[in-house]
């Protein structure tokens, strides 16, 4: 039996290898993305055993609250928390932290207290710290080779490492307050015991972590909505919407799912088509023998049963693809979560995955191929033995025949060959299409990341300058002041947007921050009568210039029109001129709580809520687009391998299908070049048509895919139709097709008169 299968593959070596490669790559890609998502799920499930918070919030402490607490801020905060806890049936915990910069500001540490009632640390090694001890985050420890018992020095104080941990409320860590993404090379989250933590100075406004005391998920979701509408909160963010906890990971998982579905859908279709074509060709080659078997009394099913042997080829490729994918998952996971602080919990071989991604598709493809073979051998035995062609030619072929003249003979039969085998035609079309989709999708992703960087940085002209909030004393002439206030937009349909930062900009030197409209013209904020929002906010909320919205900041609601839309695709900041803000009653008078500065300013936890440096913003952006770039390179490489394989197999398919045509032509004295012109060259055009179809398809697919990702993030992923990149992809497809056609012309040279003379 094994020998029978092996001879099946041997007789169709090239196609068998092609099927093997495509199935292997399909399952490998699918496995890597699927199991990476599953590993993320496993890690999050493990980490969440530490009672991960349901939400985080910041309270709105009013003058009345302070007066009632004798103007003692901590008392006012505690009192209000008690009231809130009772109203909403929640438990809460303050989450103070200290920020430390060392090594000339190059290293940044965020220090927390280790003892917690929620978001309890998930220890990957050691124990919680005692006095003089410290726990360091897992990624930093891994990067720096830190082990339990090592001494770690922070600002001149030595601590012994008691453990390594993952912080459940910092899975996508925010170490710095500048918006800089986590970099385990220079940033760490540390935890100290209560006594040691008390020695460190913490920020004034600490966020709170909260959990619902009971209730179903649905009830709690409604409760969360109510809290978000409550003016007692400055903000409330659910864990799933919190970038540090769930949102970033969910976004990554969604992207993986989309890429997986996209790759497996296309590649699975290709594998099926290839198996059917292979069997069809094989039946054509072996039809004499099959006819003899049929004449001897074998049934169609018995004859076709040998083609079930492809199941094992596909299964072997799927199993190897799965196993290689399973082995690569750890590395890919590491790549995807490089900016996360998630442990990798290696899963065992998942037989469910293997069944769903390997065995079932292999069985389905084989079954369809088997049915195809039954259809193909359902001819009278004599027809098979004598190769009697009862093929009824299609209308296109008949029509093309009429157009052939003595002058255009070769060109005429070239067109007939093109349209005479629909399956091959579709396969080649699909080859060009698949190559086009894969490389264009990769290119679009890569290109888009460059657009994002350019578009985000376009309005920011400052060099080493900083933007900071809550430091308004230094009013030197070079600085530019603004008022920063958080609030939501109430839209016309009474829906409420997420929380945005309203930046009210005063007059002065605006060269530090410049907004541009969609045409690239500078927006003069002081001439604007309403809000200026960015493209992402406009798209996310369905807003256009002229729409009227209510800006709700801590219960103070002001009606204001959207007066302009900036071309920026990133961020949650909305803008307004100071004059308009005062006229509309958002500001009582000229007020400032932040400024842009051309000077280097050191972060001071007591003075600044946050400092954003232009370099940090740039670096943060590079980090966030880096992952897309890596993914696009992987997709590009896979696309090249798969697309090339398909086109190569398509050409082999054409040559195999038209061997007798070519042999007869050669016997009559047609040269190899003429045979190639008639039999193969026309398919170059078909492949290009496949590519052309792939252009709108890829654009549409990428738009849908990135819109899904955009919906859960603070950024539009601007998929734009890019003519140069399309031309590059087109050129690449042409070059690949041309190389393959030229390389396979030797196959034509190899076709001899023996094809028919020794029949």
């Amino acid at each position: 039996m094994v020998n029978r299968w092996l001879s099946l593959y041997k007789n169709n070596k090239v196609n068998s290898i092609g099927i093997f490669i495509i199935v292997l790559l399909t399952i490998l890609l699918g496995t890597v993305f699927l199991e990476t998502n599953q590993a993320m799920e496993r890690s999050m499930a493990l980490v969440s055993q530490g009672e991960t918070q349901d939400f985080s919030y910041l309270l709105n402490i009013t003058a009345d609250d302070l007066a009632a607490a004798g103007y003692d801020y901590p008392t006012a905060l505690a009192n209000k928390n008690e009231v809130i806890a009772e109203n909403y049936q929640i438990v809460w915990e303050e989450r103070p932290f200290a920020m430390v910069r060392t090594a000339g500001g190059k290293e940044i540490f965020r220090i927390y207290q280790a003892e917690r009632t929620m978001d309890r640390l998930y220890l990957t090694a050691g124990t919680l710290p005692a006095v003089g001890e410290m726990v360091v985050d897992e990624q930093y420890a891994k990067r720096h080779g830190l082990e339990v018992g090592d001494v770690f020095t922070v600002s001149g104080i030595d601590y012994t490492l008691s453990g390594r941990a993952v912080f459940p409320d910092q899975l996508y860590p925010l170490v710095d307050n500048t918006g800089l993404q986590y970099d385990p090379g220079s940033q760490a989250i540390l935890a100290l015991c209560e006594e040691d933590f008390a020695q460190w100075e913490t920020a004034v406004n600490s966020p709170m972590a909260g959990r619902f005391s009971g209730g179903t998920a649905e009830e709690n979701a409604k409760m969360l909505e109510r809290m978000q509408e409550d003016e007692n909160f400055f903000y409330v963010t659910g864990a799933q919407d919190n970038m540090q906890i769930g949102a970033a990971i969910t976004s990554q998982q969604n992207m993986n799912l989309i890429i997986m579905g996209f790759s497996m859908g296309i590649l699975g279709g290709i594998a099926l088509l290839l198996v059917i074509i292979t069997i069809t060709q094989q039946i054509k080659t072996e039809q004499h023998n099959l006819g003899v078997l049929k004449a001897m009394g074998y049934t169609n099913i018995q004859i076709s049963a040998k083609y079930l042997g492809y199941f094992f080829l596909i299964l072997a490729a799927a199993v190897i693809g799965y196993l290689v994918g399973h082995l690569l998952t750890g590395s890919f996971y590491g790549l995807q979560v490089a900016r996360f602080n998630l442990p990798f919990i290696k899963g065992p071989i998942n037989y469910g995955n293997l069944l769903v991604m390997g065995v079932i598709p292999a069985a389905a493809i084989t079954l369809l191929a088997f049915l195809t073979s039954i259809m193909k051998v359902r001819r009278p035995a004599l027809h098979l033995i004598k190769d009697i062609n009862i093929k009824k030619n299609g209308i296109t072929v008949r029509r093309r025949n009429k157009k052939i003249t003595d002058r255009n003979y070769l060109a005429g039969i070239r067109k007939i060959i093109l349209f005479s085998n629909l399956l091959l035609f579709v396969f080649i079309l699909f080859g060009g299409f698949a190559l086009g989709v894969q490389i264009q999708f990769a290119y679009t992703t890569y290109n888009m990341t460059a657009n994002i960087s350019q578009s985000v940085m376009e309005g920011i002209n400052y060099q080493s300058d900083v933007r900071f909030i809550d430091a308004v004393e230094d009013r030197s002439a070079d600085n530019y002041y603004f008022y920063d206030r958080a609030g939501k937009l109430e839209l016309a349909d009474a829906k409420e947007s997420k929380l945005y930062n309203l930046l009210i900009m005063g007059s002065g030197d605006r060269s530090l921050l410049q907004l541009y409209d969609s045409q690239g013209a500078i927006i003069d904020i002081n001439e604007e009568d309403g809000l200026v929002i960015n493209r992402h906010i406009a798209l996310q909320n369905g807003l256009a210039i002229g729409d009227l919205v209510n800006f709700d900041s801590g219960g103070q609601v002001t009606g204001v029109p959207i007066s302009n839309i900036s071309q920026s695709v990133y961020g949650t900041t909305i803008y307004m001129g100071q004059r308009a803000a005062i006229e509309r009653g958002i500001l009582d008078a000229e007020e400032y709580n932040g400024m842009y500065s051309g000077e280097a300013v050191e972060f001071d936890a007591n003075e600044h809520l946050a400092i954003v440096q232009a370099d940090n913003l740039r670096e943060s952006l590079d980090q966030s687009v880096g992952m897309f770039r890596v993914t696009s390179i992987i997709l590009f490489m896979c696309g090249l391998v798969i697309g090339t394989t398909i086109i190569l197999l398509s050409i082999f398919g054409v040559i195999a299908n038209y061997r007798k045509y070519i042999a007869v032509m050669k016997i009559y004295g047609y040269s190899d070049r003429e045979c190639s012109y008639a039999a193969i060259d026309g398919f170059r055009l078909v492949s290009m048509v496949g590519f052309l179809i792939s252009i709108p398809y890829t654009f549409l697919l990428a738009t849908i895919m990135f819109n899904i990702i955009s919906a859960g993030s603070d950024m539009i992923y601007p998929v734009e139709f890019n003519i140069p990149s399309t031309l590059v992809c087109f050129g690449l497809t042409m070059i690949i097709t041309e190389i393959l056609i030229r390389a396979t012309k030797r196959k034509i040279t190899g076709i001899s008169f023996r094809e028919i003379m020794e029949h």
Partner: protein
């Protein structure tokens, strides 16, 4: 005139070398009809393959009117076939996606021959020109194959069992057509067959066995194709 001198051709069967042709020598005149007879495996097909420049012999040489074709490079061999020879096969090998007319054009376009109406009439194909091969009987298909070969205006026509797949009446009809054309146009025909009866219409009968020519007879009383006794 075709002159085959000491042609040797080996085929490999695993490690073994089998001689398909052993020092075969033969001459075919410019307007001769030569029939090569012999059992299966006697080397007759191999002989017409090397004579028609489809294959090369391992030793010996083939000359056409004094020009040796044995050592021609592939490109020139193809050119030679294009300009000089035509083929008719037992299984017709019409291209299934082409109409009768376009199958015939396959030969005609090589010779840049646009005046093949006479051949079509002679073979009584006028009414079949728009049909596809699957719509024709075996005899009709073979007539199309002959038209395709003749439209190429060959100097030599090689026929490999041209009547092998036909009944006696159709076979005789096909042979008559070939004989008429040969007489009218003074071309050479080399025909391989199992059918002893066909030998009666040949000017020369060559019998082969085990890769050798065992006899070569000149036929003084050439019969008409229609009168040959069907074996």
């Amino acid at each position: 005139m075709i002159k085959v001198s000491n042609a040797v051709k080996y085929y490999k069967d695993g490690e073994k070398k089998i001689a398909a042709l052993s020092e075969v020598s033969l001459t075919v005149g410019n307007n001769e009809l030569v029939v090569i007879l012999g059992p299966s495996g006697s080397g007759k097909s191999t002989l017409i393959n090397v004579m028609s420049a489809l294959d090369r012999c391992d030793m010996g040489k083939i000359e056409y009117d004094g020009t040796v074709i044995t050592d021609l490079p592939d490109r020139k061999m193809t050119r030679f076939r294009r300009d000089n020879v035509g083929f008719i096969f037992q299984e017709y090998y019409l291209l299934p996606d082409l109409t009768v007319e376009n199958n015939i054009r396959m030969g005609a376009s090589l010779a840049k021959n646009t005046d093949y109406g006479e051949i079509i009439s002679m073979l009584d194909l006028d009414q079949l020109m728009k049909r596809m091969p699957y719509q024709l009987s075996g005899g009709q298909q073979q007539r199309v194959a002959i038209a395709r070969a003749l439209a190429k205006k060959p100097q030599v026509l090689f026929c490999d069992e041209p009547t092998g797949a036909l009944d006696e009446a159709t076979g005789k009809q096909v042979l008559s057509l070939l004989q008429d054309y040969q007489r009218k146009n003074n071309i050479a025909i080399v025909m391989v067959t199992h059918n002893q009866g066909i030998a009666a219409m040949a000017s020369k009968v060559v019998r082969m066995n085990s890769g050798r020519i065992i006899s070569e007879e000149i036929n003084q009383n050439i019969a008409d194709a229609a009168d040959v006794r069907w074996a």
